[in-house]
């Protein structure tokens, strides 16, 4: 296996750090501190629920913003600034470059999400004291958020291989939002009389990634159990989607003229 993607990934991570992307953690920390203080005063008995809900939603939203906005620039920025020229003249294949860029952003998201999870844990500890067993569900929810972010990043990277950052953002966000309501779209289609609508809703359901399945924030907040099978299914589902998107991105990018 070629090691060429590794330096690209490390450099992508370094770029994110130097561009002060992780400054969002300060915002998250302030949000958690504020929420912890406020919750203690207004929500007797449901403080844990509020903190977990708020914390996981913020982790998901911040991760989503990062995945989309950095993801759509992963390739296009390098082409626009022509930093790619002296890199691709070296012995590195285009798919290796893409894999490195993807890995670098994923690493950034994992580190960022890791710190936010620590922040959430600290706020939770402050509000409801020592951890209980059901708190482990928060980690499962965070893992699912990361899986969703991995798919979103792959989508953003795929679009950034052939369209402008603005269009890539629209496409990625559009697919993400559609994917969040994939189940509803299918049910809606089943309810209509039109065969065309039925077919279209099914096509959309099977084509777009089903992000709804990755959302277990409510279950984690209420301490409801999450089946182990779902962990396996979601992992496999995300891995397959990411692999497909990266292969498609590589196919597009490998034949692209870098004018």
């Amino acid at each position: 296996m070629s090691r060429a993607p590794v330096p690209v990934a490390v450099n992508t991570f370094r770029e994110a750090i130097r561009d002060r992307v992780l400054y969002n953690l300060i915002f998250f920390a302030l949000l958690m501190i504020g929420a912890a203080i406020l919750v203690g005063q207004i929500s007797i008995g449901i403080d844990r629920l509020v903190i977990v809900n708020l914390g996981l939603s913020a982790i998901s939203l911040i991760g989503l913003v990062m995945a989309i906005f950095i993801g759509v620039g992963l390739v296009s920025k390098e082409m626009e600034r022509r930093t790619l020229y002296s890199l691709l003249a070296r012995p590195i294949r285009r798919w290796e470059f893409l894999l490195g860029k993807y890995g670098g952003l994923l690493l950034t998201l994992v580190v960022n999400t890791g710190f936010m999870t620590l922040g959430l844990a600290a706020a939770l500890f402050y509000v409801s004291g020592p951890f209980v067993r059901t708190d482990a569900l928060i980690l499962v929810a965070v893992y699912f958020i990361l899986l969703a972010l991995a798919v979103v990043t792959a989508l953003a990277l795929f679009f950034s291989c052939f369209s402008s950052p603005m269009l890539s953002t629209l496409f990625t966000l559009g697919i993400y939002l559609t994917g969040c309501f994939a189940g509803d779209i299918r049910e809606f289609g089943d309810l209509t009389q039109s065969q065309g609508m039925k077919l279209m809703s099914r096509v959309v359901y099977y084509l777009v990634p089903n992000f709804h399945n990755f959302n277990v924030i409510a279950a984690a907040a209420h301490g409801e159990s999450i089946p182990l099978s779902l962990v396996g299914e979601n992992t496999l589902y995300a891995a397959l989607y990411v692999a497909l998107l990266l292969v498609a991105a590589s196919a597009v990018f490998s034949s692209r003229n870098l004018k």
Binding site: S86, L88, A89, P91, S255, N257, L258, K259
Partner: protein, 319 residues
């Protein structure tokens, strides 16, 4: 017979243009040329001639519409070809959040070498391109000339056999240009092949074993700079001083330019001796006689004038 350093075989590049991208504009038209091992080869032409397109085709950044090329016997599609080349893009731009040392270290990681080897080589290169004192400054604080030096350093980082340099002297002051020229000459002494495009024709004349001239995507000529220039008609330039009170001989007076006490006159080569006779009769003191050979620049300018593109000259419609 040794393998040529670069073999270009009928390279053609068309770009789609227009909203439906059905029309094609030809950037490079059936280019064929060979660069021998150890040569310094200049690639000249006006803007839009196809020089950068050729270099991008050779580095695999764009793909040919037809034709192919080989570098040291390896096809440009072969990833191992990239181990043979060093490439300096035109007006290079690098990751501005990195320092020069970090950038070179990043690029060096794509070739097998230990951390110690990398460190030593990078320090040596930074010294060589005159950036040792700015090695740990972020590139966003670099001037254009400094970025060009970083570009040269990254191009020779892996000690490639063939260097493809797109306008290597661009953005450099006279000292920087001389340093780059020295590096190019030194690399040739080490047996490297240098293929570079340039607008600075004096550099090409000074450095190149051979040059190719490209205009409108087509090859106009290949040869030693002297061969190209020898195609032209020569004239002679005479610089002289006249004794006080002496007038310029009437036969020459129309073409004389006075520079202080000195006079300069340009005469056709066939009329040189007649002009000298007249100057002798006027007791002129000869300072110099030199042939006016058309420079590469003259050749180049004439080509540009001849090749003024007609609208949609190189467009073809794809069915």
């Amino acid at each position: 017979m040794s393998t040529p350093a670069i073999e270009i075989l009928g390279l053609t590049k068309d770009y789609p243009v227009g909203f439906w991208r059905k029309r094609m504009r030809r950037s490079l038209d059936d280019l064929s040329l060979t660069v021998e091992d150890g040569e310094i080869f200049g690639f000249l032409g006006p803007n839009g001639a196809g020089k950068t397109t050729t270099l991008k085709l050779l580095t695999g950044l764009i793909f040919p519409t037809c034709g192919t090329a080989r570098i040291r016997g390896r096809s440009i599609d072969d990833i191992d070809m990239h181990r043979q080349i060093g490439y300096l893009p035109e007006q290079p731009y690098f990751y501005d959040y990195l320092t020069a040392r970090e950038l070179l270290d990043y690029y060096a990681r794509f070739s097998p070498s230990s951390a110690i080897e990398r460190r030593g080589r990078i320090a040596h290169l930074l010294e060589r391109v005159g950036l040792a004192s700015a090695a740990d400054v972020q590139l966003r604080k670099y001037s254009k000339g400094m970025l060009q030096r970083v570009g040269i350093a990254q191009a020779i980082l892996d000690d490639p056999q063939v260097l493809l340099l797109d306008e290597p002297m661009s953005g450099l002051d006279p000292v920087g240009r001389r340093e780059v020229r020295d590096i190019i000459v030194e690399l040739r002494k080490q047996g490297r092949t240098i293929f570079f495009s340039t607008h600075i024709l004096s550099d090409a004349e000074m450095l190149c074993d051979r040059v190719a001239i490209l205009a409108g995507g087509k090859l106009q000529g290949v040869g030693a700079p002297g061969e190209i220039m020898s195609l032209e008609v020569h004239a002679m330039d005479i610089l002289f001083e006249l004794p006080a009170g002496q007038d310029v001989p009437p036969a020459l007076s129309e073409n004389v330019t006075k520079i202080g006490a000195r006079c300069r006159v340009e005469v056709p080569e066939s009329e040189l001796y007649a002009a000298l006779d007249q100057l002798r009769r006027s007791q002129a003191r000869l300072l110099s006689i030199s042939p006016i050979r058309p420079t590469l620049e003259d050749y180049f300018l004439r080509l540009v004038q001849d090749e003024k593109p007609r609208p949609n000259q190189a467009e073809v419609t794809v069915r």
